[in-house]
Every structure is written in structure tokens, then in C-alpha cells.
């Protein structure tokens, strides 16, 4: 049976497709800031620390998604605080939190009888196990992300472009920076449903990184990156279905290949223009 016949028949595929589209939206909007503000290592730290919260939630039999959300927000605020205090060893602290979160998660999972097989699902995601309830909160997260960005678009633009100037214009730079990290944390949890926490960073950054090569406005980059995110998640799902491959890995590979092609195209295009019109005044 090909993908599209199966899609008509099985609700789990329909849910998977919608989940992919919802995740694509979030990764496009927030991924744009992660790329221009160069905070992907912070986002990586948040993503991995989340395993601690998920493991604990599993052990104590509460909602794993809730555990992930709490851990993501906590680590985002902790990392933000470290950066705002201008710690010399920020880099070390980010990597430490990264591993500590995973260590805690693995310990909790190992002590939860009968659930060990699910570790792989957390690490690499399983979009095919998304339930309809998941779609509701994913949708709610998307609305929250976009509403926040929409209302404070100017402020986020100002703090990601030129912090010092934003501060002089009366923007609470530190507050908005922490809010931005919290939005990144929420997006990480959103994307984790689709590709798992190890692959989150690629899905968060690659669509925006591709868009930035061709578009020069934050709002337009968000739109292009969201469309690309949706394309990758649904494309990965379609490609993985027939040969029965892991969907998360297919999504990331697809994003990576398109990124590579985009970079090469841009380079050749610039060389071509350079030869045609001579060096541009820089």
C-alpha cells in the first residue's frame, strides 16, 4: 500500500502528518531567532536536559510531556541566568547541564520497571505514536509561540539585532532574553514529539538556516522556514513509510540534504554574478 492510500485509511498516519505540520510551524518561527542570535548550543543544552524531566515523570507516573515541559523551562531559565551573569565558564556549564540532564533521565528510566524500551522513543522520537490529545497541546503551544512573537515582534527584533541599543531605548533586554529562551524550550518539547530530543537541534536550526540564505527579513525568514519545516516533516514521513525507516532520521536527513544544496546553489549563484557584474562594493 502506498503512503497516500494508507493516509486515507489509518488515523495514526493522519495524526503523524498533522503533528509534523504543527512542529514545522514552531521550528520556523523560533528557529529563526535561534539562528540569528546564535544560541543553538543553548537550545541543545535545553533539549538534552529535558530527558531528566521525562525520566522523573515516568518514574513518578505523571505525564511525560508535563515532565518534559517543566524540565525544558527550568533549564532554559537556568542557562539564561548563567549567561546574564556573564559567567566566564558559560560554555562548560552548558555542556555540563546537557549531560547531567541525560544522566538523571537515564537513572530514573533504569529504575522504572518494564519501561526501558521507551528510552529510544524519547531519544529519537516516534511520530507514529502521536495521539489526538498530543495534537491539541501542540496546537496550543504553536498559538502561544506565535502570539508572543506577534505581540512583541519589535522587542525581539531589537534584542536579537543590537542588545545595547535596545537597552538604551528602554527595552527590558534581560527579561525578553529569558522569555526567548523559554519559547525555545517550548519549541524543543514541541519538536521532540516528532524527531526526539537528540535530533531536535537540526530541525530547529536547518529550516531557518536555509531561509536566511535567500531572504533578508526576519518575518519572511519565519514564513519560509515554517514552510520548509512542514515540508521536511511531511516529506520525511512519506519517504520513510514504504521502506519502513525511522521517520525522525529521514526528516533530519532530508533537511540536511536541502541545506547542502541550498548552500551550494547560493555559492555558485554568487560566483556567477560576481563574474558577470564584477566585485560588488562592500
Amino acid at each position: 500500500m502506498n503512503f497516500f492510500d494508507a493516509l486515507m485509511q489509518y488515523s495514526f498516519l493522519q495524526y503523524a502528518l498533522v503533528a509534523g505540520l504543527l512542529a514545522g510551524l514552531g521550528c520556523g518561527v523560533i528557529g529563526t531567532y535561534v539562528v540569528v542570535k546564535r544560541i543553538s548550543s543553548l537550545a541543545g543544552g535545553i533539549a538534552h536536559a529535558v530527558l531528566g524531566g521525562m525520566g522523573a515523570a515516568y518514574y513518578f507516573h505523571v505525564s511525560v510531556t508535563l515532565g518534559a515541559l517543566v524540565a525544558a523551562l527550568f533549564s532554559a531559565l537556568l542557562l539564561g541566568w548563567i549567561r546574564l551573569r556573564k559567567q566566564q565558564n558559560e560554555d562548560t556549564l552548558v555542556s555540563a547541564l546537557w549531560s547531567i540532564g541525560m544522566a538523571v533521565g537515564i537513572l530514573f528510566i533504569s529504575q522504572t520497571a518494564g519501561y526501558n524500551a521507551d528510552l529510544m522513543t524519547y531519544l529519537f522520537g516516534n511520530i507514529l505514536m502521536v495521539r489526538i490529545e498530543d495534537l491539541y497541546w501542540m496546537m496550543a503551544l504553536d498559538v502561544l509561540l506565535m502570539a508572543t512573537i506577534g505581540i512583541y515582534y519589535k522587542q525581539f527584533l531589537a534584542i536579537t539585532f543590537d542588545e545595547e541599543f535596545a537597552r538604551l531605548r528602554g527595552v527590558s533586554v534581560d527579561l525578553f532574553y529569558l522569555i526567548l529562551l523559554c519559547l525555545v524550550a517550548l519549541t524543543v518539547v514541541l519538536l521532540m514529539q516528532v524527531v526526539g530530543l537528540i535530533l531536535v537541534i537540526a530541525l530547529l536550526t536547518l529550516p531557518a538556516a536555509i531561509a536566511i540564505l535567500f531572504v533578508n527579513d526576519i518575518f519572511q525568514i519565519m514564513i519560509v522556514a515554517s514552510l520548509l519545516g512542514m515540508l521536511f516533516s511531511s516529506g520525511g514521513l512519506i519517504l520513510a513509510y514504504q521502506p519502513d525507516l525511522p521517520v525522525g532520521a529521514m526528516i533530519i536527513l532530508m533537511a540536511a540534504i536541502v541545506y547542502l544544496i541550498a548552500v551550494l546553489t547560493k555559492t555558485f549563484w554568487q560566483r556567477f554574478n560576481y563574474r558577470k557584474s564584477g566585485p560588488m562594493l562592500k
Binding site: 515582534y153 519589535k154 522587542q155 527584533l157 539585532f161 536566511i212 527579513d217 562594493l281
Partner: protein, 247 residues
């Protein structure tokens, strides 16, 4: 009185003093240059005036109030190095950011903001570049965008940190001609290490190397420059530039 510094001394935590006993008064309509060698405390002094650093000793007043309250009258033009030049933003959008703090808090900008942005782009000869991406601009064009963004704050004082550090001589003159025009309605404070060039334009020079050494353009003799920099070769070079711009 626009800016008044009384007995300012400053040291970063656990290090030697950067500034000592600075007295400086800037009147409305003045065009003041602060010059001095690198590491002489120029940027620190600006940060104190802008309220980005807290004053630990002495007092700074902007139109009679504290620097943080006085920010609303100050338009700031930072050094190039302070932000990423390849940030994906158009000239228009970058200039509109100058409206923050004066425009509405939520969502986009008002009509007045766009009108003001267009007006300052005209003033800085950027109208035709308004949709260009920032990363495609030349050094001189980028400098004009930063000036335009500061003007969009509708300031009474324009404060510039090394405005000509990254651009060539010819464009440097354009920038200072623009500042001269703006000086008709604004008080201007420029910080530069290029003492020779600046003295052709500004009406008052303050030489800063931890303390303020002298105070007016007339008093700026080669001898003083030499004292300030403690480097005769540089002083000779600059002397040459002074004679070019002694109008």
C-alpha cells in the same frame, strides 16, 4: 546645560581606575569631540553618560536628570563591532528600531513612526536604499543607517562612538559634513581616536587619557597631542591632517 559631568572617577571591579576626576560640561548646540588614545577610557566615559555603567564616584546629569532618565533625549550611534553586520534586516526596519520607547508597546509601528523613518532617511541620503539588506551596504552607508536610527529616536543630543573607524577618508568627510548639518539643530558628542581629523569639525575638544587634558580647539597644539599620545610619530602624522582641515 545638556550634559554635565562632575568629579567622575571610574574603575572596573578589581582593576585600576580608567577615569579620574573628569569635569566636563556640554552646552546645548555644541559640537564636542572627545579624543584620546585607545584604552584611554573614551568608551567607558560614553557608557557612563548613557547610563550603561553605574557611576561609582561623581555625578552625571543629562538636562538635570540621571543618565537613565535622560536616555530619551540621547541618540546613540555605536561602533560597528557592537552588532552582527550580517543580521538579516532591511535599512528601513533597522531605522524603525530607533522608534522603540516612543512608539506603541505591542504589535507593529504607527504611521508617525514610518513618517519619521522616511524623514531621517532623507536627511541621511538613504531613501533609495530603504529596502536594501543591511549586509549589502558599504561601510559609509552602514554608518549613515546607524546615524539615521539614532535620529529616529528624535534626540536632542547625538552621541557617536568612533563613527569613522571602519570607513575610508573620502567617506569620513561625508559623515562629518552630515554631522555639521545636523549640528544646526542637535548637540553632538563624538568620540574618536583620530584627533587630527576631528579637530577640523568640532568646536570643542576634550582630550581624554584617564583624565581630561585640554578643552578647546585653539589649545590643541602639536605639543599637547604629543603629550597625550606619548608617541611623536603619530603626532606628526596627525599634525599633517590638522593643516588639511583647519577651516
Amino acid at each position: 546645560m545638556m550634559i554635565e559631568l562632575k568629579d567622575i572617577s571610574f574603575a572596573y571591579p578589581n582593576s585600576l581606575p580608567v577615569l579620574e576626576n573628569i569635569q566636563l560640561t556640554i552646552e546645548q548646540g555644541e559640537f564636542v569631540g572627545i579624543v584620546g588614545p585607545n584604552g584611554g577610557g573614551k568608551t567607558t566615559l560614553l557608557k557612563l553618560i548613557l547610563g550603561l555603567l553605574p557611576t561609582t564616584k561623581g555625578k552625571i546629569e543629562i538636562k538635570g536628570v540621571s543618565p537613565i532618565k535622560g536616555r530619551e533625549w540621547m541618540g546613540y550611534v555605536p561602533q560597528f563591532a557592537n552588532f552582527s553586520r550580517d543580521y538579516p534586516i532591511s535599512v528601513m526596519q533597522a531605522i524603525l528600531l530607533g522608534r522603540l520607547g516612543k512608539t506603541k508597546r505591542f504589535f507593529g509601528y504607527c504611521k508617525t513612526d514610518y513618517k519619521i523613518a522616511e524623514r531621517v532617511m532623507e536627511e541621511t541620503y538613504l531613501t533609495e536604499l530603504s529596502h536594501r539588506a543591511l549586509n549589502t551596504l558599504s561601510g559609509g552607508q552602514l554608518q549613515r543607517v546607524l546615524i539615521a536610527r539614532a535620529l529616529a529616536c528624535e534626540p536632542e543630543i547625538l552621541i557617536l562612538d568612533e563613527p569613522t573607524a571602519n570607513i575610508d577618508m573620502r567617506v569620513e568627510e561625508d559623515i562629518f559634513d552630515l554631522l555639521e548639518t545636523l549640528n544646526h539643530r542637535l548637540t553632538i558628542l563624538v568620540v574618536s581616536h583620530d584627533i587630527g581629523f576631528i579637530s577640523g569639525y568640532v568646536k570643542k575638544v576634550a582630550c581624554l587619557n584617564k583624565t581630561l587634558i585640554c578643552h578647546s580647539t585653539e589649545a590643541l597644539t602639536p605639543n599637547l597631542i604629543q603629550n597625550l599620545y606619548a608617541n611623536p610619530i603619530r603626532a606628526i602624522q596627525h599634525q599633517h591632517t590638522i593643516s588639511n582641515h583647519s577651516h
